[in-house]
């Protein structure tokens, strides 16, 4: 097992390397650079801009720029953010925790909702419970996140004024108090719920189809032939076996945790990584963009590894020696 993990971690290094090259190439391929967007001083002459470019090293050959960049990255320095005028790491640091909290909250809601719904739907399939839940999944699947988010925002935020419509925390509370925590939670409710309600559908469907499949399996019949009461047949055999694919997906959730949801954060004006991503692209802030892509890439690789580990822990048939 450890050999497997070690091997995977070692393979991640060249993977990250290739990722960084791709990211760098894409960033450089985008038209314009940090100085062609907003110009600080409208009176600066084009020659001066060229000089600045030279100074900042933007006219050096590609590989030089790349090596400079990658060696900085290895030390944790992603460079300067042109728009925010601080180190990229600082910018990210500020926001990454907001995203993590929001994603965590969303994931908790997703599983808290999806698991009971999936189980109910699978256990009582072809009854009205199942039809209602499946109907909900169809609607959820068809609804685009941004429309749903906007509707929720409009309805609960503006019209009914139940929840705040932007930001992470209200400015009237002090840090460290319980009220602060509550306020934070308050601000997360709308974005989290609108994201969750749409994302539960995948988990519900998976769980439902697994339960429906497993109900008919032979080993369930064997369990019944042992005289085990139906509730225990469900908990010990059917449900435990149905959670396999869900366990596998758990690893992937990590990716979302760090990457955040661009749409939700933009709609709800939630200052997280997702929003940062969008604004950085439009402002041509390469350093931030490349840093974020690297981060997300790393999170994906990690998530895949975690998925595999969890799956082999849970399913003895694919245990890797």
């Amino acid at each position: 097992m450890w050999k497997f993990i070690l091997r995977r971690v070692l393979i991640m290094i060249p993977q990250l390397f290739i990722l960084s090259i791709i990211v760098f190439a894409m960033a450089k391929a985008m038209p314009g650079d940090a100085l062609s967007g907003k110009v600080m001083d409208p009176g600066i002459s084009p020659e001066r801009i060229e000089e600045l470019r030279d100074q900042m090293g933007l006219n050096d050959p590609m590989h030089t720029q790349y090596i400079r960049w990658i060696s900085n990255v290895a030390q944790g320095d992603f460079g300067q953010s042109y728009t925010h005028k601080t180190k990229v790491m600082n910018v990210i640091e500020d926001r990454v925790w907001q995203t993590v909290y929001l994603s965590l909250f969303t994931v908790i809601i997703i599983y808290a909702l999806a698991i009971p719904l999936g189980i109910l739907s699978g256990r009582y399939n072809d009854t009205w419970i199942d039809k209602a839940i499946t109907g909900y999944t169809y609607v959820g699947f068809a609804t685009p996140t941004f429309i749903f988010g906007l509707i929720v925002l409009f309805l609960f935020g503006f019209t009914l004024d139940l929840f705040p419509t932007g930001g992470t925390v209200s400015s009237k509370v002090d840090e460290g108090t319980f009220a602060y925590f509550l306020s934070k939670l308050n601000h997360m409710v709308l974005p989290a719920f609108s994201a969750a309600l749409i994302s539960t559908v995948g988990v519900v469907q998976y769980l439902r189809s697994e339960v429906v499949d497993n109900k008919l399996k032979d080993y369930v019949r064997t369990a019944r032939s042992k005289g085990i009461p139906e509730s225990k047949v469900y908990s010990r055999h059917i449900l435990r076996n149905s959670f396999l694919p869900i366990a596998a997906f758990l690893g992937y959730e990590i990716t979302g945790l760090i990457g955040g949801s661009i749409i939700i954060e933009t709609i709800f004006s939630y200052p997280g990584i997702g929003q940062l991503f969008v604004t950085s692209i439009s402002l041509r802030d390469f350093s931030v963009v490349t840093a974020l892509v690297m981060l997300t890439g790393f999170a994906t690789l990690l998530g895949t590894l975690l998925s595999d580990i969890i799956l082999s822990a849970v399913d003895p048939r694919i245990r890797i020696e």
Binding site: K3, L6, R7, E321
Partner: protein, 308 residues
């Protein structure tokens, strides 16, 4: 005329392990098998699961990669032929598979299933093709209007017959039947086995029957080879193997066959016990230190046994 001669055939599957996934060992599925088939005869390859009999059959049809050894078909060694070189031979060697429920593509109609081999090698107009297919369906006892049906509309025995029709379309010389009746009921088995016998006469076929049901093999085959752990331990005519088994593994196999005569029950149980003890004691005599059976040595013109 010797149609097929297998010489020291070996099929090894690599096992990868260790940190760098290097090949650490091999699964010796087929470890040195040699036998001959005359034209028109039926040879049975018998063994339990894991003995390598299916792998041997599949290797001859080139569904498994041959690690070493020769497969001489009509004098030509096809063991290491590439897929391009083997193409003409595919007309002559065909296979019938074990599971009638999964060996037919459920999304294809019977017409397409049976015509597929034909379309790979010959060109016929759709009308001609249809006629040929209906001809074969008639030969296997299915009605001609089944050509537009799907496999799921047929029973297991009928599906197996479709598989047989499919293998006949190219007029092969050798058919390898991999446990063709073990998934079928007794009365359906009888039907399919009878068909196979009739077809053998009509089309002058040579059969290599692979299976574990000794009753079926005994009924169908002139000669049999008993395989154990990738090697042949005994070979002879069906009568010789049944009435005079020499190798302890063959003896154990024969003793385990249940008899239709209930009054010999207790006798048989005692005989089984005795054979099992003999097996334990004489194991080292019949198998070498690595657990491999020895080479076959003839003890009569047709009977060969793996003795040290």
């Amino acid at each position: 005329m010797t149609l097929l001669k297998v010489e020291d055939l070996k099929v090894h599957f690599p096992i990868r392990g260790g940190f760098f996934r290097t090949v650490v060992d091999h699964v010796r599925a087929v470890d040195g098998v040699s036998f001959e088939l005359e034209e028109g005869e039926t040879y049975g390859l018998v063994g339990e699961s894991g003995s390598g009999k299916s792998t041997t059959g599949k290797a001859i049809v080139k569904l498994n990669k041959v690690t070493s050894g020769k497969i001489l078909f009509e004098g030509q060694d096809i063991a290491n032929y590439s897929s391009r070189q083997i193409k003409p031979y595919r007309r002559d060697i065909q296979m019938i598979f074990q599971d009638p429920y999964s060996s037919l593509n459920p999304k294809k109609r019977v017409l397409d299933i049976i015509a597929e081999p034909l379309r790979n090698f010959e060109r016929h107009s759709p009308g001609e093709e249809k006629k040929i297919i209906q001809d074969y369906l008639d030969k296997v006892g299915l009605s001609p209007d089944s050509i537009y049906k799907y496999p799921h509309e047929f029973s297991g025995g009928q599906r197996q017959r479709i598989g047989i029709a499919r293998s006949l379309t190219l007029k092969p010389k050798l058919i390898i039947a991999d446990e063709p009746v073990s998934a079928l009921d007794v009365s359906v088995q009888a039907q399919v086995l009878n068909f196979l016998q009739d077809l053998q006469e009509e089309f002058k076929l040579t059969y290599l029957f692979v299976g574990h049901d000794l009753g079926v093999i005994r009924h169908m085959c002139d000669r049999m080879g008993v395989m154990y752990r990738g090697r042949l331990v005994e070979e002879g005519t069906s009568k010789e193997i049944y009435n005079n088994p020499q190798h302890i593994y063959t003896k154990r196999l024969i003793a385990a066959i249940p008899d239709l005569e209930p009054s010999v029950r207790e006798e048989k149980a005692i005989a089984r016990q005795k054979v099992s003890e003999e097996y334990e004691q004489s194991y080292s005599k019949y198998f070498d230190e690595k657990g491999r059976a020895y080479d076959l040595k003839p003890i009569s013109t047709t009977h060969r046994v793996a003795l040290p």
